[in-house]
């Protein structure tokens, strides 16, 4: 990982050695600074336990099993050696989800503290949607409950074990505790003399005043070839590879613990900035999901077949072990026939992704730091001079007055409003950074106010927690408290945030939270939050609450009419409701480019469709060829932003010679031309959570070839791209799934499906294809920013399948407000069949508002059309238009490859048909 040694002025060996040591120390990921499982008592304990070896396995008291008035089933779990029983609750959520909750029984005086339930993550109407479960049928220590017409829940009493199975075949789908590893450490009133509750890590002491309270259990996914999910980890593998068992050398479990990791590794199970305890199992026969709502540190083992010593390979079963330091069992079992169903169910529990504004889906330009107004002007002008569109210019921490957020360094930014207005005049936006650490400076009103109101997180002694971050000594608002979130949201009003304007949006960084002098660069676990909660119980959700409060602030600022844009580094289940995330401080190397795809795909699978990696790599200087490749891949990221560390050389797209400038321009242009398609995909995501950027298997769930392909990806249902992840790569193998053909996006050449094609690598693009049978809406006129494209005409690219048919969608709204929620949008389905293209309205008619657009379609390219027709007839109107051969993209030198309907000029808002005569 060390960078090559720098060129030295003097060839002095000693100096060289010293330097090398200094750089090695400065640049490498510091393994020692992070706790591994062996250093984490609850993890070590749970991980070394053999199946079915628990001293006090929990069993269900048959007599306690009842259907509650709300339709859920409750029961008691106990063991004679335990001080008191646990309370179990089972509830059903339509269509195919089961919720299992297990907690202490608080009806007696003990335990002294309530375990933490993560608030404000599940959608508010969840309880209301709970189905009424029928009376369980109990026989021979086994109770069966029909979850739906095709699913049963089977509960074995002693020891307690739960299986979700298909009603007809009896095939299991998911099971809980089938390996007898379920352990639930009871909270205790006081520390026994012979125990030590304190834990030490490096120079830090965790007092752990409440003692051990961890929870462990095993979950099995049946019919799964692979499991996926559990962001965030650096990985070049899309599937979660086994962490323990035969064939696995030394390894850690996947760790979910939000951390600000300096120069993280592209391949490591250690936790990064965000955590989503959601796993999807998939095979050609089944798709299922498991979500554990718990914000404490979690460690998850994916167990290799035979891990438990069983020699007989149960076919297509993957066992997993889940361990958390605190909290309760609040687990969801999702059963899908298709993987998309599993995602939809997860989304139905944690909320639908917010619909971004149009600008947010375009290109963003960032750097730590654009230093002053002249710099901002210069970069803005640079894009125009080189005819490269961009929509958003970002300001990192240096724009503030001494890292006091909501303020400006007035020597560098004397007129922030004027600066934003100038950018806004070109239809562009700006973003400033607002982090959760507040400078402990008595002259800083925000600090004063937070102190006076007692709004800061407290340390173990009850004082305001004081940690070190960018501004130096800092404190952190307790975002768990809704009142404090409310207070925080108000800080974004124009009145409170001086120098902000309506075209300014927000970036939340360091919200893991990052505490430079804290254990593992974060907040001590014994810090105290609202409601007597310890930081350990909610750590992974702190950044989520901060993101939530910031997004609410922008919503309030815009009086509920302007969709917020807030990028966050930390995230948790549900973050999709508040905005975009990115993969944090990656590095400018080829491996990080490669791992960005599995990382972004995983985020998409776990409900966060709006994500991306820093194009170019944050740390270090990318070789120009790497930067170019990164733009070509990044142009397909749902969130597309170039960003760089302040020690790096400038890397605005035009700084690497004319040829490279042209290639980068081409990549960004491609993104802009596909913006109508992307926006339509974001709409889909906002309705049902299906990600914008998708693993191949999400579209081709039966094609095993695709299951662990982390190098190629789908954008929506229609486009497939394959990154180039090696320097100077000459050829690349691309697997194109499915029976239908694929058309090269650059030249329209067809390629057969279900074949791995060995393709020559081109300098000016990465392999990308449109799937036969799809229609992709584009806008092929280029502008300074997406704002100026609003009235531009569309191009439809139709790729016909083997039966001469294709279909696609287009969603358009004002790109900004919430009027779409009242029906102010255009949503069309284009269907091509029998030589006829038809535009159908798929928006409901009866909603209040309408969205008007005079936009027309100027060009329809039909790939795979065999007819030699020269004319097409538009109905209504019986208008004749020409068909001629045209290129697939408008670049100098491209040759005509496909029949193109010239200037049909039909409105996207209307229904019509175009018949090829």
């Amino acid at each position: 990982m060390d960078p090559p040694p720098r060129r030295l002025a003097a060839p002095l060996l000693l100096l060289l050695l010293l330097l090398a040591a200094a750089f090695a120390a400065a640049r490498a990921w510091k393994k020692d600074e992070f706790r591994n499982c062996n250093q984490t008592p609850f993890c070590k304990r749970a991980r070394t336990r053999a199946p079915h070896s628990l001293e006090a396995p929990l069993s269900l008291a048959a007599g306690s099993l009842t259907v509650a008035p709300d339709g859920s089933i409750s029961a008691e779990l106990s063991h004679p050696s335990r001080p008191r029983p646990l309370v179990l609750r089972l509830s059903a959520l339509p269509p195919h989800a089961l919720r299992l909750q297990i907690d202490e029984d608080y009806s007696t005086a003990t335990p002294p503290h309530r375990r933490f339930h993560v608030p404000d993550v599940l959608v508010p109407d969840l309880e209301a949607r709970t189905l009424h479960l029928p009376e369980p049928k109990t026989a021979a220590g086994v109770s069966t409950v029909a979850l739906s017409s095709d699913l049963d829940v089977v509960v074995k009493h002693d020891p307690f074990e739960l299986t979700v199975r298909r009603a007809g075949s009896g095939d299991p789908v998911l099971s809980f505790n089938s390996h007898g590893l379920f352990d639930f450490e009871p909270m205790r009133e006081s520390k026994p003399e012979d125990e030590t509750w304190e834990e030490h890590f490096r120079s830090h002491t965790d007092k752990r005043p409440r003692g051990p309270q961890s929870i462990t259990f095993d979950v099995s996914f049946y019919g799964a070839d692979f499991v996926y999910g559990l962001p965030e980890h650096g990985s070049t593998s899309l599937a979660l590879l086994p962490t323990r068992g035969p064939g696995v050398e030394e390894s850690e479990p996947y760790r979910l613990f939000n951390l600000d990791v300096f120069e993280y590794l592209h391949e490591s199970p250690f936790g990064l900035y965000g955590s989503i305890p959601f796993m999807i199992g998939h095979g050609d026969r089944a798709s299922s999901g498991f979500f554990w709502l718990n914000a404490a540190e979690m460690q998850i083992d994916v167990l290799a077949p035979g891990w438990d010593g069983a020699t007989a390979q149960e076919n297509g079963q993957i066992d997993t072990l889940w361990m958390a330091e605190a909290g309760v069992v609040d687990a969801f079992f999702f059963v899908g026939s298709e993987p998309k169903d599993v995602i939809k169910q997860y989304i139905s529990v944690t909320g639908t992704p917010s619909m971004p504004q149009q600008f947010a889906t375009a290109y963003h330009q960032c750097r730590w730091n654009y230093r002053d107004e002249a710099d901002v002007d210069g970069v803005d002008a640079g894009f125009d001079e080189h005819d490269i569109p961009y929509d958003v210019l970002w300001l990192d921490i240096e724009h503030t007055d001494g890292k006091r957020y909501f303020t400006w360094d007035r020597s560098a930014f004397p007129n922030p409003e004027e600066m934003q207005r100038k950018i806004a005049d070109k239809g562009r936006k700006m973003v400033t950074i607002v982090d959760p650490h507040i400078k402990r400076d008595s002259s800083f009103h925000l600090h004063q106010e937070a102190t006076d109101k007692g709004y800061y997180v407290k340390d173990a002694n009850g004082n305001d927690f004081d940690g070190w971050c960018w501004p130096g000594s800092s404190s952190y608002p307790d975002m768990l408290n809704p009142e404090i979130r409310e207070w925080w949201a108000d800080k974004f009003s124009y009145e409170n945030y001086k120098g902000s304007t309506p075209t300014l949006y927000i970036w939340n960084d360091m919200n893991e939270p990052s505490v430079f002098n804290g254990p593992e660069v974060t907040m001590p676990r014994d810090a105290m939050h609202y409601g007597d909660a310890e930081h350990r119980e909610l750590h992974n959700a702190y950044g989520y609450y901060f993101h939530m409060a910031t997004a609410d602030g922008l919503l309030k600022r815009g009086e509920g009419k302007d969709r917020p844009f807030v990028l966050s580094r930390a995230f948790f289940a549900g973050s999709q409701r508040y905005g975009a995330v990115w993969t944090g401080d990656n590095s400018a190397d080829w491996d990080h480019l490669k791992s960005s795809i599995p990382m972004v795909l995983t985020l998409g699978l776990t409900g966060l469709p709006f994500s991306g990696a820093d194009v170019g790599g944050f740390f270090g200087n990318p070789e120009p060829d790497l930067l170019v490749r990164w733009y070509q891949v990044g142009a397909f990221y749902p969130f597309f932003r170039g960003h760089a560390h302040h020690d790096t050389k400038r890397r605005e797209p035009w700084l690497f010679g004319e040829r490279r400038t042209a290639i980068i321009r081409e990549a960004i242009h491609m993104r802009y031309s596909l913006l109508p398609y992307f926006y339509t995909l974001f709409r889909e995501a906002s309705v049902n959570g299906i990600p914008v950027m998708r693993p191949l298997w999400l579209e081709f769930p039966d094609d095993k070839e695709t299951y662990n392909n982390g190098e190629a990806f789908m954008v929506g249902p229609s486009l497939l791209a394959q990154g180039i992840y090696e320097e100077g790569q000459k050829s690349v193998s691309v697997y194109l799934p499915g029976k239908e053909s694929w058309y090269d996006l650059r030249n329209g050449s067809p390629y057969k499906g279900s074949v791995t094609h060995k393709l020559q690598v081109l300098e000016d693009s990465i392999p990308s294809f449109q799937r036969a049978g799809t229609i992709v809406p584009r806008k092929d006129r280029f502008r300074r920013s997406s704002t100026q494209m609003v009235n531009d005409p569309y191009t439809l690219v139709i790729a016909l399948n083997s039966s001469g048919a294709a279909e696609g969608e287009l969603y358009v709204d004002d790109g900004k407000s919430y009027d779409y929620q009242q029906g102010a949008f255009i949503h069309r389905r284009f269907v091509f069949a029998d030589n006829k293209l038809t535009s159908f309205n798929i928006a409901p008619d009866n909603l209040g508002k309408k969205f008007a657009s005079d936009c027309v379609i100027e060009r329809i390219i039909v790939l795979g059309l065999r007819s030699g027709a020269k004319k097409a007839i538009i109905e209504p109107g019986n208008q004749e238009v020409e068909i001629e051969s045209g290129p697939i993209s408008l670049r100098s030198g491209s040759s005509p490859v496909a029949p193109t309907i010239r200037r049909p000029n039909v409105r996207i808002a209307d229904s019509w048909t175009i018949r090829i005569a």
Binding site: L14, S203, K426, W468, D647, K649, E858, S892, S895
Partner: protein
């Protein structure tokens, strides 16, 4: 009624013209209008052809944009705005009807929801005013530059002749020094012989006394004396070995180490110089690095208890910022600060190179002291090595030419030196002559006052010689540089340009180095590298290293101005600085002509208007 109708028609026509310009010329520069005549027009990239109807029909037929110069339909097309009253420009098709006024005549927004005012007149006027000012600056600048160039030529010639003069003087002086050395040797030899004789005499007397005693006691031992004599001969044959022959001879070493012997010592000291520089760096590095590296060490070990919470915070923060853990504040706005940098080991040597003190004087001054001492004094002098080599090479010639010119005296040297300047040389020569004439080599005993006089003259002359040699080397060093086509940058050699920006003072010394100073601490932004972009940019490179970043560097862009003024220092990338220097040195005539032509062109397109 009829008039009204005509009026209305005209109005309509005018309105039409304003909103929809004629398609056959829309966005086409005048020189290309011919290309678009005719029924069928070719796409420029040869990809196809299009009909007159398809010209500017808002549909892209040629991927290269040939058919849509006036619309936004082809991404690669360019739109020409006439901008009557100002300068015509060609804009990207992406700007056509995008709702933003790009052409001052507003012609790019003929079909959009904005109405653009025609601002060409005002903008043109402002542009012309600006250009006029620039032309005026250039006019004056060109004059100043001419003067500068003249001065530079004179100065250059002067420096060249000074160099030649110095070289001539060096030659003469070398001859004198050689001669004096010869004399000194002879004197010393004579003295030594005298001393030995005396010693012998004393010894003889003593021996005789002892003999007398020995007659009573035993046999004598005379071997020591013979040994000593042999060694001395040896020294004179091969002085290089003298240094090795330290083994306790009674002979006075100092007096026997000759010029070339010193030279050997110097070679030794040069290599030692390298060693000591190394040692110095090693000493220095831990000092500067210690804070960070010890903290790093502490932290990477399992026991960072040594750190306070704050130190730990600073240490972790410094990974991202690359800033010193000792800094009190992270508010450093421009990120200029970088206390953690690795020291430049060669810097001291370089500074010597640049400032060219008179190292020879010091070292020669110390000539008579102990050899050990000399070694120390030579330590820092890189040049001695070189000049000594030269000296050795030229040695024979010098002696020869001196001899042949022996009697010609100062007359000969007047070619080389300007009248009046040669006086000291004359004097020295005169003195030396006198010394030679007076001194009788064969006179015994040696005249002590004469001997000390020779020694003194020798010391004076060699010190003078080394001064001259140092001057020669610094002047030669200067003249090696690139001073531009017309030597217009000659005066930059001895100048530094300064500017204050915030808390920093920037100092740019052309051909030397650039620094950023804050209070007493100074950061090297780079050493002189070269001119770039045909003398438009001065490049300084290999400055102090940035922690976690590149070596600092500075590019100074040169702009025509009436005086030398440094401005606009900036750091667009970490540790890569830029600045602007206004100077008459780049006010070239060609550019003035170009600007003048541009101004004329702009003004001529303003019939009547401009002069109002």
């Amino acid at each position: 009624m009829r008039l009204l109708l005509v009026g209305a028609l005209l109005l309509c026509a005018a309105a039409a013209v304003e909103s929809k310009p004629p398609l056959d010329t829309l966005g086409i520069p005048p020189q290309d209008e011919a290309y678009y005549r005719g029924g069928v027009i070719k796409c420029r990239d040869g990809s196809g052809r299009f009909s007159q109807d398809q010209l500017n029909d808002d549909f892209c037929d040629c991927p290269d944009g040939t058919d849509e110069p006036g619309t936004s339909a082809c991404p690669e097309a360019k739109f020409y705005c006439k901008n009557a009253g100002h300068t015509p420009v060609t804009i990207f098709s992406s700007r056509v009807n995008d709702g933003i006024c790009d052409c001052c005549d507003g012609s790019d927004e003929y079909d959009s929801n904005v109405t653009c005012k025609n601002t060409c007149w005002e903008a043109g006027k402002a542009a012309r005013e600006k250009l006029k000012k620039k032309v005026a600056t250039y006019k004056n600048g060109v004059v100043i530059r001419k003067q500068e160039v003249e001065r530079a030529k004179e100065a250059f010639a002067k420096d060249e002749s000074e160099l030649a003069k110095l070289k001539g003087e060096e030659k003469i002086l070398q001859g004198l020094v050689d001669k004096l050395k010869e004399q000194k040797k002879l004197i010393e030899k004579a003295e030594e012989e005298e001393r030995l004789k005396k010693e012998k005499e004393e010894k003889r007397i003593k021996e005789e006394a002892e003999k007398q005693a020995a007659v009573e006691k035993g046999a004598p031992d005379a071997s020591w004396d013979v040994d000593s004599k042999e060694t001395q001969d040896h020294v004179q044959e091969d002085e290089n070995k003298v240094a090795e022959q330290h083994d306790g001879h009674a002979t006075d070493h100092d007096n026997h180490v000759t010029e070339s012997g010193a030279s050997v010592e110097q070679h030794g000291s040069v290599s030692k110089d390298g060693i000591s520089a190394e040692a110095g760096t090693v000493d220095e590095l831990p000092q500067k690095e210690s804070a960070a590296s010890t903290l790093e060490k502490d932290l990477s070990s399992d026991n960072p208890e040594g750190l306070s919470r704050e130190e730990l915070g600073r240490m972790v923060a410094s990974r991202w910022t690359g800033e010193s853990v000792n800094e009190v504040s992270k508010d450093d706005k421009k990120g200029h600060k970088d206390e953690q940098e690795i020291p430049e080991p060669a810097e001291e040597a370089l500074e010597d190179e640049i400032e060219i003190p008179e190292p020879a004087e010091e070292s020669y001054g110390g000539y008579h002291s102990e050899v050990e001492d000399d070694r120390h004094k030579y330590e820092d002098e890189e040049f001695d090595h070189e000049s000594e080599d030269e000296y050795v090479d030229d040695h024979d010639d010098h002696v020869e030419s001196y001899r042949s010119d022996d009697n010609q005296k100062a007359d000969h040297h007047s070619d080389l030196t300007e009248p009046g300047h040669a006086s000291w040389l004359d004097k020295i020569q005169q003195t030396v002559q006198n010394v030679f004439q007076k001194f009788n080599f064969f006179k015994t005993p040696v005249d002590l006052s004469e001997a000390s006089r020779v020694r003194k003259e020798y010391d004076d002359a060699s010190s003078k010689l080394s001064k001259i040699q140092s001057k020669i080397s610094s002047l030669a060093e200067k003249l090696k540089h690139d001073f531009g086509k017309d030597k217009e940058f000659y005066s930059f050699y001895d100048q530094c340009f300064e500017t204050k920006e915030g808390k920093y003072t920037y100092k740019v010394c052309a051909y030397k180095k650039a620094t950023q100073a804050e209070g007493h601490s100074s950061t090297n932004l780079g050493r002189w590298d070269k001119f770039e972009e045909s003398y438009r940019v001065m490049h300084f490179s290999n400055g102090d290293k940035c922690w976690n970043g590149p070596d600092r560097s500075l590019k100074v862009r040169l702009r025509c101005g009436l005086s030398n003024e440094l401005n606009d220092v900036d750091e667009p990338s970490r540790c890569e600085y830029v600045a602007v220097l206004s100077t008459p040195a780049v006010c070239v005539e060609d550019k003035l002509k170009e600007l003048q032509n541009k101004l004329d062109a702009m003004s001529s397109k303003q019939p009547g208007h401009d002069e109002l």
